[in-house]
């Protein structure tokens, strides 16, 4: 086994040596080829570079020229543009001014319309209010008149009733008083006569009246 291992290792080492040697040889050859190619390329590159520089300088010249042209053209365009812008701005300002004026006019018109409508509304409102007030006053007058008429009728009726009651009361009182007077009139007369005759009749007159009474009793045969 160990032998196999030694053989294998030696084989491996030998293979490795051979490989490294081959690599080294190839590398050495490759470097020589590369230097030739590089030189060639270097020359070609330098030429290309030179060409490129020339071309680039030409391009730069053209570019500068073109740039100057562009700048000049740009200045003109800019001026034109400025003029156009100024013109447009002026136009815009003008339009804006007109628009503003128009808007102002519209606003004034609107305000005038509004004022007019307001006045109309006020007038209408005033008229309506006046009509309502008149209506209310008319209604109030009518109601007041009705109320006054009703009250007058009621008052008159009440007064008539009161008067009738008062008249009835007076009539009743008068009747009662008349009845009382009638009932008491004789008593009043008797009392009056008693008072008057008691003072006015002399003793002789009183005695004479008694004599008449006694003679009447005699005639009546009251005393037998």
């Amino acid at each position: 086994m160990i032998i196999y291992l030694f053989v294998l290792s030696g084989a491996t080492l030998g293979a490795t040596f051979l490989y490294l040697r081959e690599v080294s040889l190839r590398k050495k050859f490759q470097n020589q080829e590369e230097e030739k190619i590089l030189e060639k390329y270097r020359e070609e590159g330098l030429e290309t570079l030179h060409n490129s520089i020339q071309k680039s300088q030409a391009i730069l010249g053209e570019a500068e020229l073109e740039g100057i042209k562009v700048i000049a053209s740009s200045k003109i365009e800019t001026k034109k543009m400025e003029e156009a812008v100024d013109s447009q701005v002026a136009e815009l300002i003008k339009e804006s001014q007109e628009t503003i004026n128009k808007s102002q006019a519209q606003l004034i018109q609107f305000m005038q319309d509004l004022q007019k409508r307001s006045l109309e509304f006020e007038e209408t409102s005033k008229k309506t209010t006046q009509e309502r007030i008149n209506k209310v006053f008319n209604s109030l007058e009518e109601k007041l008149a009705d109320f006054l008429v009703t009250t007058e009728q009621k008052t008159t009726s009440s007064i008539e009733l009161e008067l009738r009651a008062a008249r009835n009361l007076i009539d009743s009182y008068r009747t009662q008083q008349m009845k009382l007077i009638e009932e008491n009139i004789i008593a009043m007369m008797e009392q009056t006569l008693s008072m008057v005759l008691g003072k006015k009749l002399s003793l002789k007159d009183q005695v004479e009246i008694v004599y008449e009474a006694l003679e009447k009793a005699k005639i009546d045969k009251f005393i037998v």
Partner: protein
Amino acid sequence: MENNIFEQILKQSYSLSILKHRIRILKSYLSGYFFNGPKEQFKTEDQNFLSSLPKDFYSSFNKNNFNEIFSQFDQNISKLPALTIYLAFEPSDEAIERIGTKVRQLFSPNLILDVKYDPRLIAGCALVWGGVYKDYSLKLKIEESKDKILESFKKFLR
């Protein structure tokens, strides 16, 4: 005798109250005379009455018959026919005497009056005899003419 004495007093006395008063005066006077009792001070009219009696009137009295006679007087008074008379005025003694005289002329000499006062009669008189009342006053005449009077008054009231 007692009756004779009584008649003498009765002759000049027309009402019961006067009669009784005079008999009381006489009794008082004779009582003082016979029994030395307290002597009463008489009014002028009473003195006049006593002096108006005749002298033989007093000779009829003595201590012994004094009480008997006055007892008899009381009996006689109760038996007297009394005519109650209501007058509309308060009569004086003179008025009573005049009315009494008239009554005795008209009806009976022994009639005695029982005088009462009733101002409601207005004038005239009302009589009571034997328990019967009879009105002869002006008040009755007015009552009888009440309807006529009322009619007359109503003319002024309406």
